[in-house]
């Protein structure tokens, strides 16, 4: 890489995750996320994108564990930190938005309290101040009448509103990195656009880097500056978004792009409506133990603009 690029916020190096020590399911994944950059991880179910995100947060659950590599966050290997120091980072410097807004909020606490908790835990604020900040946070994610909403319970809110609340919680402490794991998959399409726009806008304003995990190529294309394609636990290809869509290098990426349903299109098999990936990508072309195909970052001017 050239010297013009800023130091990455997150630098994942040869990350390996296994079920126990033996069975490796994520093989040598490396990628960088620059400050303020939105980085997309795309791939099928089970390709390892979510556990990559979770391992950065330090939220892997047994029997999954990191068995090799490093996760450098602001130059510091978080895998070497103690659990307490890592916990301090979570929610404060790095935050996460999950897929399911319906279950991600405590049903027995008000929205305002749940946002305020972030300020109490990470900023040591008193409840009164924290509550005021919570209302501000709700306002920033454009929840209408935030004062009132702060007093309502999660079940009184729609899915889109809840996801906005989740974003407010995640961005409450102005983290350097936001990991969004399929943030809009559970929402309907019209709400999706609004939520994505909100994430993009808030993160741009704060200079927050985003790791967007998704299987939705449309979402990736709209949101991300750079995209990594994952298949079977490997990062097979990494390019700038435009370059990736214009010129996919790995056969799997090509297959993924070809498998997108298009309005009114006929599929290869003719009868079914959806293309199976197996029909497009030969299995010997799938991820193997080869280095990630990457092209250097272009359009730097845009990234920093």
């Amino acid at each position: 890489m050239n010297g013009i690029l800023p130091d990455p916020v997150l630098s994942v190096r040869n990350l390996r995750i296994g079920v126990g020590r033996r069975n490796e399911i994520l093989h040598d994944v490396s990628f960088d996320i620059l400050p303020g950059e939105t980085y997309g991880l795309v791939g099928e179910s089970g390709s390892g994108k979510s556990i990559t995100g979770l391992s950065v947060m330090g939220l892997l659950k047994r029997p999954l564990e990191v068995i090799g590599g490093s996760v450098l966050f602001r130059g510091q290997d978080v895998l070497k930190l103690g659990s307490r120091a890592r916990r301090r980072l979570r929610g404060d410097r790095m935050a996460m938005v999950f897929q399911e807004p319906m279950t991600a909020l405590n049903p027995l606490a008000t929205i305002g309290r749940q946002i305020a908790e972030m300020f109490v835990v990470h900023r040591g604020m008193g409840w009164a101040d924290a509550r005021r900040k919570a209302v501000e946070a709700l306002e920033s994610v454009r929840v209408p009448s935030p004062e009132e909403r702060a007093r309502s319970y999660p079940h009184q809110l729609s899915g889109g509103m809840r996801q906005r609340v989740m974003i407010a919680i995640a961005l409450a402490c102005r983290p350097d990195l936001l990991i969004a794991d399929e943030p809009t998959t559970a929402l309907d399409v019209t709400v999706q656009a609004g939520v994505l726009e909100l994430i993009a806008e808030l993160c741009k304003a704060e200079g927050t880097a985003v790791l967007l995990v998704s299987h939705d190529l449309g979402v990736i294309a709209n949101m991300c500056r750079r995209v990594g394609v994952m298949d079977r636990g490997r990062l097979v290809e990494e390019q700038d978004t435009r370059a990736l869509f214009a010129n996919p290098m790995h056969p799997y990426t090509r297959g993924l792009l070809a498998a997108r349903p298009r309005l009114g299109s006929r599929t290869l098999s003719g009868r079914g409506r959806l293309t199976e990936l197996d029909q497009v990508v030969a299995s010997e072309d799938r991820a193997r133990d080869t280095p990630t195909m990457t092209t250097p970052r272009g359009f730097q001017a845009e990234a920093t603009a």
Partner: protein
């Protein structure tokens, strides 16, 4: 939430006992210990002694009213101890898992295997009779059901999105257990506790009946039954009324617990509707 019949009836009975216990000092017509009139022993119920007198000429009604204090104290306090122990162990076991979970599970199974009354009897034998040792004995022997319920509820809550979200927000484990899990399992724990109060009242009566609970002459429903055992043919009122008091109390708290469960459990509600 619609009030259910068993809840209302249970609440009424429980309140009756609570009021009796609190106001025993004012409404009891005689002193339960000092007013022993040997000349008027084994008197059947009359206007002077509504529920009759026992073998030593003491007013049964007064002794039942004062006995309610003992029974309720034992029931409430020991069940509070049980709930605290059971919830703390159950939640932490379910949350942390691993060897701690195995240990707590093993302990719970051991507690379930030993008849709790026998265990309480053993503790009483060590500590000696009296109210404080009763509270300890019954408070340490009945937490296993609470523990099980708390553990299983925690296990299912642990994988809920909001607990995961709280972890990703950097909350500490104790904070997550306190703010995310505890409020969500309070319903079932409350139900078990209410049902347990009835059990504790019964256990107190049993221990006092066996002579290791409350020492005579202090009245407790259990030792009233002991005293009246030999008079069952000549003065049945001396044993029937304390028995009735136990019955009403246990019934009241059990109905209250049942009603609470029905009202807190949405599945039961939809099935009934």
């Amino acid at each position: 939430m619609r009030l259910r019949f068993n809840f209302v009836l249970g609440l009424a009975l429980a309140l009756l006992v609570v009021v009796a216990a609190i106001s025993a000092g004012w409404i009891a017509p005689y002193d339960p210990v000092i007013d022993a009139d040997l000349m008027n022993s084994e008197m059947p119920p009359s206007w002077e002694h509504w529920l009759g007198t026992d073998g030593q000429g003491r007013d049964v009604l007064s002794r039942i009213l004062y006995g309610a204090r003992v029974s309720l104290t034992v029931g409430l306090v020991s069940q509070l101890i049980n709930s605290c122990i059971g919830t703390a162990l159950g939640v932490s076991a379910g949350y942390f898992g691993g060897w701690w979970d195995d240990l707590v599970n093993g302990l719970t199974n051991v507690m379930l295997a030993i008849p709790s009354l026998v265990f309480a009897l053993a503790i009483m034998a060590v500590l000696g009779p009296g109210l404080p040792s009763l509270l300890i004995a019954l408070g340490l022997t009945n937490w296993s059901w609470t523990c099980r319920i708390a553990r299983s509820s925690t296990l299912s809550l642990k994988n809920q999105g909001f607990v995961q979200a709280a972890r990703s927000a950097g909350f500490s484990d104790t904070n997550i257990m306190r703010t995310q899990i505890l409020p969500n399992i309070l319903g079932p724990v409350l139900v078990i506790a209410t049902l347990g109060i009835g059990g504790a009242v019964l256990a107190e009566a049993a221990l006092s009946f066996l002579g290791v609970g409350i020492r005579p002459p202090q009245p407790s429903w259990g030792n009233m039954l002991t005293d009246a055992r030999e008079l069952i043919r000549t003065a049945p009122w001396a044993s029937v009324f304390p028995g009735l008091a136990i019955f009403i109390t246990v019934l009241g708290f059990n109905l209250l617990g049942d009603g609470l469960r029905d009202m807190l459990d949405p599945h039961m509600r939809t099935r009934k509707a």
